[in-house]
Symmetry: none
Subunit: 144 residues, 4 copies
């Protein structure tokens, strides 16, 4: 039997809070999704003004961060025509995101969930996702 | 009437075993899929630690190897913007894989199935797929 | 942090073996899928003669057993026009199965995975799925 | 290694011809599809006046006849709310047809392909599909 650690909804809410704080600071209303370690949605929030097209993108980013185990911005740089990973953006029924702003959430080296942010540029989305994870560490005290 | 040769489930299990042995040697837990010559799944295994996003990718790689009759890494190099094959990665309902790690399995010049491996880099996946086919040849004695 | 128990690939293989033994006894070549507790595929096998249309049905049954937490035959009787659950068979992108032969796999009261069997009648599929779970209990000693 | 028998394109054309002859006799322009034993399309024809919505239905009927190994009209009667097989009509990505007019094509007891007819009523479609198979037997001499 495998023993898996998984974000609780209370912990997922902390990630959402961290994203909201940073998005507010940047004045960019964001869509933020948090999934468990298997890529299934735990919590989601579209701030007033967040893009409708970003709802599914944020969810796909969190999914990808959790199950593919790398930031979506990393896959963005691997998924370039002529490189071996090109094509991964159309897998998993189109749910594999290669746009920055999706991150795995780790605790003591194990992935326990994923966070995905969308509505800004890919760089802005990534900044907010990183802030969400930093807030999660600060509030919970969990090590990477 | 056409006469077709097709992997049995026992032969598919040998391919799976070959992939498992190589993946264990490389210490990369893999998803491995084996399809018949028509691209339909015969057997699949996600090793402990294999990526969830690699489940469908491995299946798609095996499908593509069997039915498009080339290694998926070959299509990766053909499917580049400006080349004539660009766009093939979004065909077949998104199931045409152009990421290395999918191979046709041939016996006496005829394709009898496909094998697909995913969870490492495209190069690692291809190494494991090749090892699966080599193990299949060694254990069955079938010629290419 | 939630603590989750999940089938290992070795334990999933025991479920597959149990299905294979019963299917062989009944002389019905089956498709059998085993998923983890989140519904993601761990292992799959189509016996020689198993139906091609049953590949995805077996996977969907295992998914449903694991994540909807009831046997798919239970949903079959709930999903009847005029009853409140009617319509659930078209949810989850069409992957929610209401055909008997999908079961949750529990250990000490917690769902650790799902098993799905297809190629016979719904009743035959359920018999084989139950045999798979019984074999799993016998070989592992895990309580329900 | 499994030895499979599969319709050649010449034999598939005979099935199409049989359907065309009967459809002409009935004065119902039909869509007719012929697949191989794995459910993959070999040949298709929409007669002048055949319904556009019947293109995919005919293909799905032929697929189902071949891979689920029963006439689609048989599944129609099994797939009734409260019966164990209810729900099968939404499986296989919606490609499992339960509307009469799809039949397996057998030779010496083995399924070698499928034929699907659509544009009339389910009963008319089945009559034409049966005529296609009868024509195939008459012209080829193959036993059931």
């Amino acid at each position: 039997m495998l023993e898996i650690q998984r974000l609780s909804v209370a912990e997922a809410a902390i990630l959402l809070e961290g994203a909201r704080l940073k998005a507010t600071e940047l004045a960019i209303p964001m869509c933020t999704a948090v999934t468990d370690e298997s890529g299934h949605l735990i919590t989601f929030e579209r701030m007033d003004g967040g893009k409708i097209s970003s709802i599914s993108i944020a969810i796909d980013k969190a999914f990808t961060g959790a199950v593919a185990r790398k930031g979506t911005h990393v896959y963005n740089q691997l998924c370039v025509p002529g490189k071996g990973t090109f094509g991964i953006h159309v897998t998993n029924g189109g749910h594999f995101s290669i746009i920055g702003g999706g991150l795995p959430v780790t605790v003591n080296g194990a992935i326990v969930g994923g966070v995905g942010v969308s509505s800004g540029t890919a760089d802005e989305d990534l900044i907010v996702a990183e802030a969400a994870v930093a807030w999660f560490r600060e509030r919970t005290g969990f090590a990477e």
